[in-house]
Symmetry: C2
Subunit: 142 residues, 2 copies
Amino acid sequence: MTRLAGCELCALAVEPIWKNELFSVILVEDAAYPGFVRVIWHDHVREMSDLADADRLALVEAVNRVELAVRAVMAPHKINVASLGNVVPHLHWHIIPRYADDAQFPAPVWAAAVRTTDESVLAARRALLPQLRADLVRRFTV
Amino acid sequence: MTRLAGCELCALAVEPIWKNELFSVILVEDAAYPGFVRVIWHDHVREMSDLADADRLALVEAVNRVELAVRAVMAPHKINVASLGNVVPHLHWHIIPRYADDAQFPAPVWAAAVRTTDESVLAARRALLPQLRADLVRRFTV
């Protein structure tokens, strides 16, 4: 296991929803995007294509399970998935539920906000998070 | 094969660098991002998790081959990969070479531009595109 001193994903500060020896699944604390999940590879690897085939498939499969859980529980209009890592070059994936009324839709979540989602709508989505956690755990433990 | 009338990715307007029965690989015409490549699934499918397992693995493998070609030829500081589809909800992947001097670095390419890359630098990267095309074809035909 390669670890880099000072890398914020090598020393993960949040408690994962689920983890195994290869990766952790965490719920992102983003007030505008309830249900935003990250999958973080444990080894300090820079790019997806640096992984051995079996590891890459394991990570892809994990991202897919997260996508299925987010779709099932959060019922978004669209799923966005991305692996960027320009700021923290330690392999991780973003899985983001998107809605027509979210802060940036239809632009990516990294674009400028174009609206503020109603607090009641966000509260209803946040109320689904315990169910999302349970569904994620279920999909990774079967 | 499902096709949707009016979908710009069901009726692809550009000539692919390479295609098979499942997907096309195209070079994106983006003045600020030479070497930006997309992989477009032919069937009109909305989400990655809508694909059958074998199809999903074929698409993941294609994205990985593109990433390897872009790394080998363009020598970027970082690779960004994403499947968003909020505007055109027809499954496609963006593979983007990122450099410390590019228009948005370290933000995602969808954020506001923070600089203009020197034209001489962009010209040098554009000069690599014939080599990128050749490397992509090679990686998909072996």
